[in-house]
Symmetry: none
Subunit: 219 residues, 2 copies
Amino acid sequence: MSGAPIRVLVADDQRTVRDGLTMLVGLIEGVEVVGAACDGVEAVELAQTERPDVVLMDLRMPRMKGAEATRRIRAELPDTQVLVLTTYADDESLFPALQAGARGYLTKDASAEEIEQAIRALIAGETHLDPIVQQRLVAAVLDTKPILDAPTQSLPNDLTPREAEVLKLIAGGLSNAEIAEALVVSPATVKTHVNRIFYKIGARDRAQAVRYAYQHGIA
Amino acid sequence: MSGAPIRVLVADDQRTVRDGLTMLVGLIEGVEVVGAACDGVEAVELAQTERPDVVLMDLRMPRMKGAEATRRIRAELPDTQVLVLTTYADDESLFPALQAGARGYLTKDASAEEIEQAIRALIAGETHLDPIVQQRLVAAVLDTKPILDAPTQSLPNDLTPREAEVLKLIAGGLSNAEIAEALVVSPATVKTHVNRIFYKIGARDRAQAVRYAYQHGIA
DNA sequence: CTCGCCCTCAACCCACGGGTTGACACCGCG
DNA sequence: CGCGGTGTCAACCCGTGGGTTGAGGGCGAG
């Protein structure tokens, strides 16, 4: 399995990132960088002339967004796979990119080995997504899929109903005063609840409480 | 990072698979198999007494299905992650397992290295899914999420790399002083970053910043 | 080279948050 | 009936966080 080299095209508007990626990917054994585009239009053009196996695609680029470039490449070159390599994995970037036909999605935190693994996975016809992306997909699917069972959505901690309510509002970014107003109680009451919540979930401040809420599916 | 060993519990009804897994996983450096259950009921019981870091869970087991066992374990032991290791990745197995709180999903085709990677990913709080599962999730999401890409999907973000780094730590529940220590800068610098982040993402305090981070996939 | 962005740091102010103690009313339960 | 859990509220203290201003160095782009 070491025949022709894997041909890779790099597309990123930031010069340092583009050059760094070209260098990094070129060092991978059996991989050859056949071009570097600095925007979406150029990426599509280079893809058509070079017919690479994989395109490393940034999403935020001038002239043409990475998602649109991905769509065109996938439409015209079915054998060319697109590996998105971008800074953030927010829904507004993620879903259009997947919709456009990207089979891989990594953030720029990825190591060289991860990029290599992803490239090889795409060549093998697999999908390779950043763990965060996987997490978001799971969340999105569970959102839309009906709740198959789960009779009593048991709260992990022995938070009282009122405390759980307060925790949700904390996770919503509300201040103590705002929570008091929302629940029609005195600010002092809220403070009491908040302190008990912190004690129970092992949080030191609101920030940790928000983190806890999101990690435990309360928000 | 080579402190206490990772404690793993194996749950599978087939004796050869169970023993083989126990052997295989026990050979991984820094991993210790603390128990082997032959059905779902035993898996929950052993999880409660042993409090493992990761449970390798088969889905088709007598007495109690793996999905239900996963749900109970996740409800009572938030720090214990479940890695499903099953024969097939059909939707009828997959979605209930994810719904139940499994953070990892591999088929029994997986190599020892893949299992090791998955275990370490779960320990790190990440999600690790088989490429086929990733593919199915993408398909499921694109099914339910019609093309919703915004035409002028522009960037509300604009965070500098350093700011993004700080935001991640904020989302991790760290105080300014702790962030300063982690990044080896002065607390004053951290405060500057924090203020700029708040301005850019429209947050009023850390709690709202944590919320933002989780909702945008930064954490 | 110069401009602007990014990162760095310092000093100040004060409001809000976090911790503690103590109190009272309601309600279900044994 | 008395007890414990829950929800409510108040006073206090003080630390951290949040906002502002100001300033200097590095580095890439024009």
